[in-house]
């Protein structure tokens, strides 16, 4: 079956995202847009995943718990997990590798954690916008150990991207799927960088505002609409 996806959506926990990126707003917007499966991927944290997953389950939209990790090379990796407990185990590791600095909401924005009723539970005061002290290789190792998957984020961009920062994709990493950003024309990109033509490309929104979330425009073919079937395709 063909499902409409958007595996890169930020909530108001990401300092750079709108404060109306609440669990209910996101899930309802995804329903309006007709998406089948999404992933919640805040910077270096998964603390809004649970609320979004609960709402998604009630409303028939599959929500994958995820995180956008910023490695020490300043490369963004979309890390997706099978369930919330695995995602939380990964978060514990990541929190231990964040710099011991506090977020400054005035400069970077607030980092809000919600429950499934969109009530503010608390604000996270860690510096989530920073790089964690883990290399790309180490993040791959840790995520694979937890049976998660990794999709290098917005590789068509020059900043915070695996190809932009490292020049090309390290051979040793078993990467099959790459993400390109919302406005990227994949054919034009491959025309310029034909060495990447053997990868699978998926398009996500990297939404920081509700209106950024994709329409039914990015699809993958899966056996069943569940996390396991999606991982089988992307892995």
């Amino acid at each position: 079956m063909k499902i409409a996806i958007d595996f890169h959506i930020h909530t108001a926990l990401s300092p750079c995202a709108d404060e109306d990126m609440t669990p209910n707003n996101i899930i309802n917007m995804c329903i309006l847009k007709g998406l089948d499966a999404i992933a919640i991927t805040d910077h270096n944290s998964v603390e809004n995943c649970r609320a979004c997953m609960e709402l998604g389950e009630n409303k028939g939209i599959l929500v994958i718990p995820g995180m956008e990790v910023q490695t020490k090379e300043e490369v963004h990796l979309i890390c997706l997990f099978e369930d919330i407990n695995t995602a939380l185990a990964f978060q514990k590791l990541i929190y231990g590798k964040l710099p011991k600095k506090e977020n400054n909401p005035k400069f970077f924005g607030r980092q809000i954690i919600f429950n499934e009723k969109d009530e503010v539970i608390r604000e996270n005061n860690m510096m989530l916008i920073a790089s964690v002290d883990l290399s790309i290789n180490e993040v791959f190792h840790e995520v694979y150990k937890l049976r998660g998957i990794i999709i290098p984020a917005h590789v068509d961009r020059s900043s915070y991207s695996l190809i932009g920062t490292l020049g090309f994709i390290p051979e040793k990493l078993s990467i099959k799927t790459l993400e390109v950003s919302k406005r990227c024309n994949i054919n034009a990109f491959l025309g310029k960088y034909s060495i990447f033509r053997n990868y699978r490309f998926i398009q996500n929104s990297d939404a920081h505002h509700l209106w950024d979330i994709l329409e039914r425009e990015s699809f993958i073919e899966v056996n069943k609409k569940d996390i396991k079937s999606i991982f089988d395709i992307l892995r």
Partner: protein, 111 residues
């Protein structure tokens, strides 16, 4: 100036094996975005970067860089050092920052 002239100075420590240290340093380039380096650095440049990922060796080898200089005593991944030995790319470590490296090289006659 050759790579080995730098190693004799106390601020620069060779962390790869000593093959190819007679390479001529023709210029100096500093950048951490590897795709940018690939399109802008020149053959014979000594390249200063805070990146320690293995891909720095591939980029250096692609461009025929004379040596890689890692500033501010940043720790270097072992697999990067192994790869550099394999590809005969000298890597130097120094406690100097990029500006101080430029000053030092100018003092040593790189114009």
């Amino acid at each position: 100036m050759q790579v080995k002239n730098l190693i004799e100075k106390e601020n620069f420590k060779l962390i790869t094996n000593d093959k190819d240290i007679s390479k001529e340093i023709k210029g100096l380039y500093c950048c951490d975005l590897l795709s940018w380096v690939m399109s802008h650095a020149k053959a014979g440049d000594a390249w200063i970067t805070v990146q320690t990922h293995m891909n720095i060796v591939a980029v250096a080898s692609l461009l025929d860089i004379s040596c890689i200089i890692i500033p501010e005593s940043i720790e270097i991944d072992k697999e990067t050092i192994d790869k550099a030995n394999e590809e005969n790319i000298p890597i130097l470590s120094t406690n100097l920052n990029s500006y101080e490296i430029f000053c030092k090289m100018h003092e040593l006659g790189l114009r």
